[in-house]
Amino acid sequence: MRKSWLRDYIIKRLLYSIVIAWGILTITFILVRVGPSSPADKYLANLAAKGHDPAQVIAAIEARYGLDKPILQQYGEYMLNLLQGNWGWSLSTSMPVMELIKRHWIYSFQLILLSSLFAAVLGILIGIYSAVRQYTKTDYAFTFLSFIGISIPNFWLGVMLILIFSVKLGIFKTYYDTTLPLFSLANLKALVLPVITLGTGMLAAYVRYTRSAMLENLRKPFVVTARAKGLPEHVVIGKHVFRNALLPLVTIIMFDLGSIVFGGAYLTEIVFGIPGLGQVSFNAIFANDYPVVVAITLIGTLVVLLVNLTTDIIYTYLDPRIRYD
């Protein structure tokens, strides 16, 4: 009985996610079409410098991009293309957008993954410690530090780290070396500063959220019961309190970090010159390469959607009260 309920729930969430995905794609389409300058205008500026007749160029572009067709048809084709994996052509790099994404996503991925792991593991541990040792000097220190952590502008932090550790101390290179093989120690070293940059804000957030989730549960009666059984303190905290604190923690993390990490990664890539999708989008902006900018926004959003869906499902595994209703 329980298994089929879970399956139904997952299907329900999946369908809902598809609806949201549709909404995302539609809004993006509206934004692009409503924009004051169509792709034609921008490309026009480039071409006019090369001496072509504006009117002819506009007509040709509109035909090429299908902009002369009625808007609903454009919408339909847009959706179809996206679903088939045809995300447009990148003018500035002369390759399909999908190809561009395939070449660069791994850099963003490794940065985000390492930063998230760093922030999560350290953050949760500090948060637990801080909660258990509430009102001590260490707790106050960590709380204060976490304020600082969430307030530091991460792109400034990156620049400062470069200033101190690369320029003044010479420990790290100032720019990310793309020739390094991904699974090498040298690559890891090159990622140290970027991971600290992206991870600090997330770390501070994890510390605060974990601490607050733990505090919510530390004084509850079942904790006294656990101690009354004679269980050692680390079992009481680790097994009893933390398992309960995990519930609100997972929800908060899903809401907050899902979207914020992409903005941070975007900036971090630019500061350190890491050729991830953020950097690609950045380059595309200055080359007026519309399809790329749009595509990367979409990818980021769809990944967030996926993360939300996964977290939702994980949550149902964590909270028995939802499963057995």
Binding site: L31, W156, S259, I260, N308
Partner: protein, 320 residues
Amino acid sequence: MTETPKAIAKDRAPLSGGGLRLIGYYWRRLTRNRLAVFGLAFIIFLALVAIIGPFFTPDPTEVDFEAKNLPPVGFTITHSTYDIKTDQFITTRVSGNWKHPLGTDRKGRDMLAMIVSGARVSLQVGLLATGIAIIIGTIIGVMSAYLGGWVDNALMRFTDVMMTFPFFLLLVLIVFIFGPSLAFIVLAIGLTGWTGTARMVRSESLSLRTREFVMAAKALGAGDGWVVFRHLIPNVISLIIVIATLSIPGVILAEAALSFIGLGDPTVPSWGIILEEGQHSLTTAWWVAVEPGIMLFLTVLAFNFLGDGLRDAFDPKSSV
């Protein structure tokens, strides 16, 4: 035990003693928090700097040809310039002076002037964009909670969609499409940052909606609009104040980040633009990167302290 909405409604404050006393009560609770007081003090200081500063500092676009890459007061740096005539590198030691207390950038512009102008930009953007976001969010939240039914459903689905977009990516996209003028940036930030507010206002309104005083008002024949304005909104105000204070830093950072990557308004001396320039002068003029960053950091910190203090003052157990 709840305070009646009459006591909280600020529009009543000048006339009813209850309102004023309530503000006094919350003020005392706020000022017990030293960090919050520091935050408030810094923000007031910054506002003063932004408003009065431009009268005391030179024009930020004004260039002092003789004093390029001048360090701040108290610092000394060595400049190596290649002299064509003698085919050598001439090194000179340059010290900061009080004419340019915070130094100058590579073009010779006074750092202090730029920082002051940047303060103005950040605060303006911060307040305006947050204002827009809060207004949109509150309207959607209250409408959703109050009207319920399919309106609630539709609005919440829409909010879900907008929430899924990573804030900064969407912002970049909009500014890219519509152009980087300051007005648009403010509008864009406002139009993308309302989702959190909408959610929280809606949930607070929902819980208020079923409270006795609302039902009492309706039983007495109050129309929908009346209930919303006189009863729901005043109770949500404390929540909105906290949300607003905690949103301003995100907005300021968003504008700075946009300027940093070059999508800001080029006619405006934002801290982000200065920082971007600073990143390229790390070896020659490190202060150009440090100063705007410190200001950004302190500003954000101040708002965070204040917002946290406000939240504790209004309701120490709140989960906002």
